[in-house]
C-alpha cells in the first residue's frame, strides 16, 4: 500500500529529472553523438541543411517553378523528414518542461533572423554542409574539407560577433522595441502544455511505427529526429554558442559539450568506416567516403565563413534554428524561412558559376586516412579537440579573448 502511494511521486520525480531543469550541454553532446552513430549505422550521418533545402525546393515546386519540378517530395526525403521531426521533438521537449511560448521579438531582430538564415543558406550550398553535416558529423567522418569548413565557421563567427557588439553600442534600436509573448505557461498554470507534449510524442511514435513496415530506415530517422530535437531543447545544444561564447562572455560549457559529442561520434564513425559496417551492397570505399564532400579547401573555407556569419547574426545554426523554431522563438522562424527560401536559389543559380571558376584542387574530396592512415587521421582530430579544449578553458580563466 505504502509503495502504491509512493509510486506517483517517483514517476513525477523521474519526469522532473528530465524536464524541470536544463540538462548539462555535455549530456546533450554525448547522447546526440550516440544517435548520430545510430543514423550512420542504419544509413548516413546527421545533417540539417539538406533537409531544409528540400523543404525550400518543394515550396518552389508548389509554385510551378520548373527548375525544381524534380525535387523529391519531403515525405520521401530522409533528411527533409528528419528536420521536420526534429522540430516536433524540440516542441515536445519545450511543452513537457512548460517552456513553450510564441516569443515575438522587436522588428530589427526579425530582420536579422531572415538575413542570418539567408547567409546560412548561401554558406551551406557553397561550402557543402552546415554546422552538423560539415562539422559535428563531418569532422568525425575524418573529412579534411570539414576541418577547413570549421576554420571558416570560426572566422565568420568571430567577425559577426564583432558586428553584434558594434550594433548593440551604435544601433541599439535593432534589438529593442515592442515584443510579444503568447501561450506561455507558468508554475501553477498551463498544464495543457504537458498533455500536448504527450500527444506530439506519441503521435510521432505512431507515425514511425506505421512507416516501419515499408521503410525501416525512415522509421529510425523519425525516432532519432524526435529524440534529437528533444535533447537539443533540453540541453540547449548549440554550435553557435560553442564557437561564440568563449569570445563573448568567456563561458566554455557549450564548447565542452560539443567536444564531448565529437569524441563519441569520432569513435563510432571511425569504427563504421574502418570495418565498412553497414556497407551492404555499396563498396567499403563508398562507406569510407560517406560525409566527405568535395569542398577541400577554398570551397569549404568560404562556405564555412559565410555560414558562420549567418548563424551568429541569426543566433542559431541550422539545427539550433530548427529546435528554437519548435520552442516558439519567432526570430528563428524568420531564420528558417530565410534559409529555406534562399537555399534552392543559391544552390541552382548562385553557387554553380562560382564553383565553375574554382580549379579542382580547391574543391576536391579530402579523406584524411588516405594521407595519414586511420591512426594518423584520428590523432589529428583528437589533437584539434584537445587544443580547442585547452584554449577555451584557459580563456575562461584569464578572459584574454572575451569581450566582457
Amino acid at each position: 500500500m505504502a509503495d502504491q502511494q509512493k509510486e506517483p511521486g517517483i514517476l513525477r520525480e523521474l519526469f522532473n529529472t528530465f524536464f524541470a531543469k536544463h540538462w548539462p550541454v555535455w549530456v546533450g553532446g554525448v547522447t546526440l553523438g550516440l544517435l548520430n552513430i545510430l543514423l550512420f549505422t542504419v544509413k548516413s550521418p546527421w545533417g540539417a541543411s539538406g533537409g531544409i533545402n528540400n523543404w525550400g525546393e518543394n515550396i518552389f515546386k508548389l509554385f510551378g517553378i520548373s527548375a525544381f519540378e524534380n525535387a523529391a517530395p519531403t515525405s520521401t526525403s530522409l533528411y527533409g523528414v528528419l528536420c521536420l521531426v526534429l522540430i516536433l521533438g524540440s516542441f515536445a521537449g519545450a511543452l513537457f518542461s512548460k517552456e513553450f511560448a510564441l516569443r515575438i521579438p522587436p522588428k530589427g531582430e526579425l530582420l536579422k533572423g531572415f538575413i542570418g538564415g539567408a547567409l546560412m543558406a548561401i554558406g551551406a550550398t557553397l561550402g557543402l554542409g552546415c554546422t552538423i553535416g560539415s562539422f559535428f558529423s563531418g569532422v568525425p567522418a575524418l573529412s579534411g574539407g570539414a576541418i577547413i569548413f570549421t576554420i571558416g565557421l570560426f572566422a565568420g563567427t568571430i567577425l559577426a560577433l564583432k558586428y553584434l557588439l558594434w550594433e548593440m553600442e551604435k544601433w541599439p534600436g535593432m534589438s529593442s522595441g515592442k515584443s510579444f509573448t503568447f501561450f506561455a505557461a507558468s508554475k501553477g498554470k498551463g498544464n495543457w502544455q504537458i498533455w500536448l507534449g504527450w500527444i506530439v510524442s506519441i503521435g510521432t511514435f505512431i507515425l514511425a511505427y506505421k512507416v516501419a513496415g515499408t521503410n525501416g530506415v525512415l522509421a529510425w530517422f523519425i525516432i532519432s529526429g524526435l529524440l534529437m530535437g528533444l535533447i537539443c531543447q533540453r540541453s540547449r545544444f548549440c554550435i553557435v554558442k560553442a564557437f561564440r561564447d568563449p569570445f563573448m562572455t568567456g563561458e566554455s560549457d557549450g564548447s565542452v559539450g560539443v567536444m564531448a559529442g565529437l569524441l563519441i561520434t569520432l569513435i563510432g564513425f571511425t569504427a563504421i568506416k574502418f570495418f565498412g559496417i553497414g556497407a551492404g551492397e555499396t563498396s567499403i570505399r563508398a562507406r569510407e567516403m560517406t560525409w566527405v564532400f568535395s569542398q577541400f579547401w577554398l570551397r569549404g573555407l568560404i562556405g564555412g565563413f559565410i555560414f558562420g556569419l549567418g548563424m551568429t547574426v541569426a543566433g542559431g545554426c541550422a539545427v539550433g534554428t530548427l529546435w528554437r523554431v519548435g520552442e516558439g522563438q519567432v526570430k528563428l522562424w524568420m531564420a528558417a524561412l530565410g534559409f529555406l527560401l534562399i537555399s534552392p536559389i543559391s544552390k541552382h543559380y548562385i553557387v554553380p558559376p562560382i564553383v565553375d571558376m574554382l580549379p579542382h584542387t580547391m574543391k576536391f574530396k579530402n579523406y584524411l586516412p588516405d594521407y595519414f592512415g586511420y591512426a594518423g587521421a584520428v590523432l589529428i582530430v583528437l589533437l584539434i579537440i584537445l587544443v580547442w579544449y585547452v584554449f577555451v578553458k584557459w580563456n575562461e580563466r584569464t578572459g584574454k579573448f572575451s569581450a566582457f
Binding site: A101, R103, S179, A184, K189, R236, T249, G315, L332
Partner: protein, 76 residues
C-alpha cells in the same frame, strides 16, 4: 532594495540577453542592483552560470507574468 536600472530583454533570444546584461552590468558601480526581464529559457541557465563566474550576485529570481522571468542582480 533600490533598483538602479531595468533591462528589458523580453522577446529576445540568445545571445542578445546575455550580451545586453554583460554591458549593462559593466555600466553599474559595485553594489548597485540591475533588474532584468526576459523570456528566453536559455537565459535562465546562462545567467546563474555567468554570475557564478563573474562574482555578481543574483539577489532575487522570479516570474512577473506567464513566461516572463525577472532577475535582480547585484554587481560585485
Amino acid at each position: 532594495m533600490e533598483i538602479k536600472e531595468t533591462l528589458d530583454c523580453k522577446g529576445l533570444s540568445c545571445p542578445m540577453p546575455m550580451m545586453k546584461l554583460a554591458k549593462a552590468i559593466k555600466g553599474l558601480s559595485s553594489g548597485e542592483v540591475l533588474e532584468m526581464l526576459g523570456t528566453d529559457p536559455g537565459t535562465k541557465s546562462d545567467l546563474p552560470k555567468w554570475c557564478e563566474k563573474t562574482g555578481n550576485t543574483i539577489v532575487e529570481e522570479g516570474e512577473v507574468e506567464s513566461g516572463v522571468f525577472r532577475f535582480l542582480i547585484q554587481k560585485k
